[in-house]
């Protein structure tokens, strides 16, 4: 069933259209930087964007930072929100459940396909970012200066980039879990997507308020940018570990709730 769901997801043109659109913004930024030679100062704008004019190999990180606050969560919410509610809206859910596999296995299959989408999307953004960065900008050997001012070897920089890709992927799993959870409650994919996005907008807004500081450590978007800490020297693991744990809690609770709801609700469409 998992193979079927993966096959369905990656055969849909809209999946790849979503991924392509997601790559358009970093590409536009790269072209503008190349044409104008005007990079933001270090510490301003998306992380690492300041360094790409002199070292294009850092553009995968800048590309992830560009799409992370808004575009990536929207793409993930759209796909995850559609996973169950889309079948219900199309009237195919009851036929899927007519198979002897059962609801739990269907939910797990949907879950795995959404997680696969998140991973593929993040890797594609990073890969396209690398190609764009090394094509449009001066490509130094893969080495560089850490945020702390020390020099990173090629091995260190490559390892940390892989860790950053993994961290961003895990951060998006929380978004996917929210959308999948809402998707089991409604027959409207749009409703499920908007529900997940509403949670993220609320979280981002509350994070800026001092009055909300007691609950800030529990906001789903709180540690998203902690992947920058992977490029400090030594690596600052504190927020990275907290970010992973927080996403783990959201994913665990929401998927358990999605399972409890999906396996007990009446399916009419």
């Amino acid at each position: 069933m998992i193979a079927v769901e993966l096959h369905k997801l990656f055969r849909r043109p809209r999946t790849w259209t979503t991924i392509a659109v997601l790559n358009a913004l970093p590409l536009l930024v790269a072209v503008l930087l190349q044409l104008t030679d005007l990079a933001p100062r270090p510490g301003e704008g998306p992380p690492f964007l300041s360094a790409v004019l002199t070292n294009g190999t850092l553009f995968p990180l800048a590309a992830l930072a560009i799409v992370l606050p808004l575009f990536l969560p929207i793409a993930v919410a759209v796909v995850a929100g559609d996973s169950v509610a889309g079948e219900a809206q199309a009237g195919t859910l009851r036929y899927l459940l007519a198979r002897p596999a059962g609801r739990t296995r269907l939910l797990v299959a949907k879950l795995v396909s959404v997680f696969a989408f998140v991973l593929v999307t993040v890797v594609v953004v990073a890969a396209v970012g690398y190609v764009v960065g090394t094509t449009l900008f001066e490509a130094q050997p893969i080495a560089g200066t850490s945020v702390s001012g020390s020099t990173l070897t090629p091995e260190e920089l490559t390892g940390r980039t892989v860790l950053a890709i993994g961290y961003v992927t895990v951060s998006m799993l929380g978004v996917a879990a929210f959308a999948l959870f809402f998707s089991t409650f409604t027959d409207s994919p749009l409703g499920a997507t908007l529900g997940a996005l509403a949670v993220l907008v609320t979280s981002s807004l509350l994070f800026t308020l001092d009055a909300a500081s007691p609950i800030a450590p529990y906001l789903p978007t709180r540690y998203w940018l902690a992947f920058v800490d992977l490029f400090r020297d030594p690596i600052l693991w504190r927020d990275v570990v907290r970010g992973l744990a927080l996403q783990g809690v959201y994913v665990g609770v929401l998927l358990t709730a999605a399972w409890a709801n999906f396996t007990t609700k009446d399916i009419t469409s």
Binding site: R41, P42, P46, T145, L236, R238, V249, V253
Partner: protein, 368 residues
Amino acid sequence: MVASGYGAARRWAVVAVLAGVLLALPSVVGALPASDADVPAPQLRADALASADVAFSGYAESAGGLTLPVGDRLSRLSDLVSDRTLMRVWDAGPDRRRVDVLAAGGETGYHADGAGGWVWEYEDARATRTAPSPLSLPTPPDLLPTSLGRRLLSEAADEELSRIGARRVAGRDALGLRLVPWAPAAAVERVDVWVDAASGLPLQVQVFGAADVPALDTRYLDLELGSPDPAVTSFVPPPGARVALDRERDLLEQADRRIARVPLPAELAGLPRRTIEGAPAAVGLYGRGVTLLAAVPVAGRLARDVAGTLRASPEAVDDGRGLRVAAGPLGLLVLDPPGEGAWLVAGTVTLDALAAAAAALPPPAEEG
């Protein structure tokens, strides 16, 4: 097959229990009781002051609630006492220390060595070599609980100290020490310092003015004892960085030559005069401990500039005894009599004490 009503209830009960356990976990961990120890206040102060050589690494947060009406001229200082500052620390003693001030997309690193230090600013890709300076504006490392706690306790009298129980700070048992300054001019109502029971390191410092909430609250969130790796504390400017030399000491020497000296009273607002080696002789420094006052002769043009900023504050008092503003326990006064010279007076004293100081100051000299 849809689960029965009983099955549905059981499944939702699993969700509720899982969510409940995860939600309660931070509160349970946070509620772990602290173990108090029968250490008298003067001994605890001595332990804190003796901890300067204790090596450690940590992660600290400083939160200030002071809005300094100083405009853009001293925006870094203003941000320091009004914002939340996150810092990583590796401390192997005064001659080998690194403090990184963390921002979401950047970092400023302060590396101290025996002969001064380096300041690395990622935002500007700039490394600045600094020399030890007897007098300088506060920087984030000065707000670390260890630095601030020892500084505030260094001149406290035993009679000003008392014990206030214990609490958990950075996952460690911290013994409470309260400092209530006796000076009538003091604007600081009290300072609570929470000292690590095992090492004597100050783990949290809270400075209170008249309000119930601290004007400044700085604490370690993580702390680990042990000497940090020398490779972590050392610094070499990276390739491509702009390297600069800090001119603060030169400016101080220049100020010492340029500021005209006038005879200053031995006491201001009931606070005795004190001297700091290397500070410009024309600047009057008064008080001790947490009750300090500085009187600086400045050019009239600069004074009028500062006065313009102070007047914008709704708290400003201008009753002919000098333009005064209080920001929590910090007070600022501009005294600008007719002529070219003026006085800028600042300190952790009340507005009345500032007015009394202004009345006792001699006429300012013309700028040299």
